[in-house]
C-alpha cells in the first residue's frame, strides 16, 4: 500500500479511538442525543392521541434547523475538530506526530478524516434516533405510508445529508482554526455570531456562511416568528431564498476542501509551544 495511505489510515485509527471512547467526548454524545430525550419522553409519557404527523414533521424541522444544525453540530464540531490539533497540544502529545516521518499535510488530512468519520457517525446516528423518537408513536400503517409513499424517506435522507454536510463544513473550518490559532475559541465565537446574525445580513452576505447552504438542503422551511418579543435569538429563524440543493452540496464540499488544504499548508509552519493552557 502507498506510504501516505498507510500513514493516513494509522492516524485515523489512533484518532478515532480517542474521539469515540475518550471520557472528554461524552458531552458530544449528550449534545447529539439531547433532542431525542424529550422526543422519547413524549412518546412514552405524553398524550399523543390527537397529534398530526404533519405537525410533528414541522416540529422536527424546527428542532433540526434551530437546535441541531446551529447548536448541537456547531458545538460538537468545535469539540471534535479543535481537539484534533489544539487538544493534542494541550495534552502535550502532538510532538509524537511531528517527530514521526509523516508529512504535515498527511497528518492534517488524517486528523480531518478521523474527525469527519466520528462526527458524521455520531450526528447522523443521532438524527436517526431522533427520527424514531419523533414518529415511532404513530401506527405502523400511517408510518409506512409516510415513509415509503409520502415524503418521509426523502426528508430523512435530506436531514442526514444536511447533518453530514454540517460536519464537513464546520469541521473543516474548526480544524483550520485549531491549526491557525492558539485560542481557537475566538474564531469559533466569531463564526457563532456571524452564523447567528445570518438572518440580518443582506442576500449577498448571507451566502458567505455555512448555515445558508445547509438550510438550502433542509426539506422543510420554518416560517419566521411573527412575535419576536425582542429576543435576540429569535433571529436564528429566518426565511431564505434557498439555493438549489445540488449547488449547496457542491459549494459546501468546495469550501471544506479549500479550508482543509489551507490548514494543511498552514500546518507546515506548525510549532509546538506547550504553554500553561
Amino acid at each position: 500500500m502507498n506510504l501516505w495511505k498507510r500513514q493516513l489510515l494509522a492516524i485515523i485509527r489512533i484518532d478515532l479511538a480517542r474521539t469515540f471512547f475518550s471520557k472528554r467526548g461524552i458531552w458530544i454524545y449528550l449534545l447529539a442525543l439531547a433532542p431525542a430525550i424529550p422526543m422519547f419522553g413524549h412518546w412514552i409519557f405524553g398524550n399523543t392521541e390527537n397529534e398530526q404527523l404533519g405537525g410533528d414533521a414541522q416540529i422536527f424541522a424546527g428542532i433540526f434547523q434551530f437546535f441541531y444544525l446551529r447548536i448541537a453540530i456547531f458545538f460538537g464540531c468545535v469539540g471534535i475538530f479543535m481537539n484534533l490539533i489544539r487538544g493534542e497540544m494541550l495534552d502535550k502529545s502532538l510532538h509524537f506526530y511531528l517527530l514521526g516521518p509523516v508529512r504535515r499535510e498527511v497528518l492534517v488530512a488524517g486528523k480531518f478524516l478521523s474527525g469527519l468519520i466520528a462526527s458524521i457517525t455520531i450526528f447522523c446516528g443521532a438524527v436517526l434516533v431522533q427520527w424514531v423518537g419523533m414518529f415511532a408513536h404513530y401506527s405502523p400503517d400511517l408510518l409506512a405510508s409516510y415513509m415509503f409513499s409520502g415524503p418521509g424517506m426523502s426528508h430523512l435522507i435530506s436531514y442526514l445529508l444536511a447533518a453530514a454536510l454540517a460536519c464537513i463544513g464546520y469541521g473543516s473550518v474548526f480544524l483550520w482554526a485549531g491549526v491557525r490559532y492558539k485560542n481557537p475559541l475566538i474564531p469559533a465565537a466569531m463564526i457563532l455570531v456571524w452564523e447567528g446574525a445570518n438572518g440580518l445580513l443582506p442576500a449577498m452576505l448571507k451566502k458567505i456562511s455555512i448555515i445558508y447552504w445547509l438550510k438550502s438542503v433542509c426539506p422543510v422551511s420554518i416560517p419566521a416568528p411573527k412575535n419576536n418579543d425582542g429576543e435576540i435569538l429569535s433571529l436564528l429563524i429566518f426565511d431564505i431564498d434557498p439555493a438549489p440543493a445540488m449547488v449547496a452540496v457542491v459549494n459546501l464540499l468546495l469550501l471544506a476542501a479549500f479550508v482543509t488544504v489551507w490548514a494543511g499548508i498552514r500546518a507546515r509552519r506548525l510549532e509546538i509551544g506547550y504553554g500553561t493552557d
Binding site: 433532542p35 458545538f75 468545535v78 469539540g79 465565537a189 425582542g230
Partner: protein, 285 residues
C-alpha cells in the same frame, strides 16, 4: 554575600487589611487578563453600544440638532423596553467576556497545583473565590451596570427631576438586574473554569451552556407541548427577572418568582460545583 548566609527571613513589610485581602488576587488577575491584546480590544468594543445609547439620549433632547433633520425632541421613546433591550445586548457581550476571561481565572491554578500555594497564606477559600470572582464581576459590571446607570443619569439630567422621580424604578431595576446577571455569570465562569480545567474547553462550555440551554429548552417546549423547558434557559430566566424589575414583564414563559427561584437554585448548584472542585487536599483511598 555568600550563598549559605542567605537564610529565611519573614516578610516585615506592611500587610493588607484582612478585609480587603481578596483585592490582591483581583489586582494580579486583572494584570494577567489584560495581557491579551485581543481581549482588550474586545472589552473596549463592549462600550460602543453604551456610547451610542448615551449619544442617542443626548440627541433625543437636543432641539437644535433635531430641527436640522426635521425631527422634534423626544422622537425616541425612553422607557423600560429601551433599557431592557440595552441590558439584553450588553448581557450577551457580558456572556462573551465571561467565556473568554472566566476560564483563565481558576483553571491554571488547579492544573499547575497552585491552589495550595495561595491557601498556605492567611487567605481563605471564600476569599480566593471572591478575589477571582471580582475580576469577572468588575468587568461585567463595567459593561452592564455602569453604562446602564450612566444612561439613566444622562436621561435624568437632560429631562429633569420629575422624570427622575417618576422613573426611579428604572434605576433600581437596572441595578438589581445587573447584580443578578453579575452573580450568575461570575459563578458560571468560576464553576466552568474549576470543573473543566482546560481554558479553551471551559470557554466553549460557557458559550454552549447559553446557546444549548436555550435550544434545548425550545426543544422540550415544542416536543412535550409544555413550558417547563424555560427553566433550562438561563437567558430567559434572566430576562424574565429583569423584565419584572423594570416593570416590563415578559409575556411568555415562567412567572418572575419562578424564574428568580430557578436562578437561585442554579447559582446554588454552581456554588456547590465550585466548592467541590476547589479543594487543596485529596486523600487517596
Amino acid at each position: 554575600m555568600a550563598v549559605y548566609k542567605r537564610t529565611y527571613r519573614g516578610y516585615s513589610g506592611p500587610l493588607t487589611s484582612p478585609t480587603w485581602r481578596f483585592t490582591v488576587l483581583q489586582r494580579y488577575a486583572f494584570k494577567a487578563v489584560f495581557k491579551s491584546r485581543l481581549l482588550l480590544i474586545g472589552y473596549v468594543a463592549c462600550f460602543f453600544a453604551p456610547l451610542a445609547l448615551i449619544c442617542a439620549l443626548y440627541l433625543n433632547q437636543n432641539a437644535t440638532l433635531l430641527a436640522m433633520v426635521g425631527q422634534k425632541t423626544g422622537f425616541m421613546k425612553i422607557d423600560a423596553a429601551l433599557f431592557l433591550n440595552f441590558l439584553s445586548v450588553q448581557g450577551v457581550l457580558a456572556g462573551l467576556v465571561t467565556a473568554f476571561v472566566g476560564p483563565s481565572l481558576v483553571a491554571p491554578d488547579l492544573t499547575n497545583g497552585a491552589l495550595s500555594v495561595y491557601l498556605a497564606r492567611p487567605f481563605s477559600r471564600s476569599e480566593y473565590i471572591l478575589g477571582k470572582g471580582m475580576v469577572l464581576g468588575t468587568m461585567i459590571g463595567s459593561i452592564t451596570l455602569l453604562p446602564g446607570l450612566l444612561a439613566f443619569a444622562v436621561q435624568s439630567s437632560l429631562v429633569g427631576w420629575t422624570w427622575f422621580v417618576d422613573n426611579l424604578y428604572l434605576g433600581v431595576g437596572i441595578t438589581l438586574s445587573c447584580l443578578v446577571l453579575i452573580a450568575v455569570l461570575m459563578l458560571m465562569g468560576l464553576a466552568m473554569s474549576a470543573f473543566v480545567r482546560w481554558k479553551i474547553v471551559a470557554g466553549a462550555l460557557i458559550l454552549a451552556s447559553f446557546a444549548a440551554g436555550k435550544g434545548f429548552a425550545a426543544v422540550i417546549n415544542e416536543v412535550m407541548r409544555t413550558k417547563i423547558g424555560y427553566f433550562l434557559d438561563v437567558q430567559h430566566l434572566l430576562s424574565t427577572v429583569s423584565g419584572a424589575l423594570l416593570h416590563h414583564p415578559v409575556t411568555e414563559g415562567t412567572s418572575p418568582w419562578a424564574a428568580a427561584l430557578a436562578l437561585v437554585v442554579f447559582c446554588g448548584f454552581l456554588l456547590m460545583l465550585i466548592n467541590r472542585k476547589l479543594r487543596v487536599c485529596e486523600v487517596a483511598g
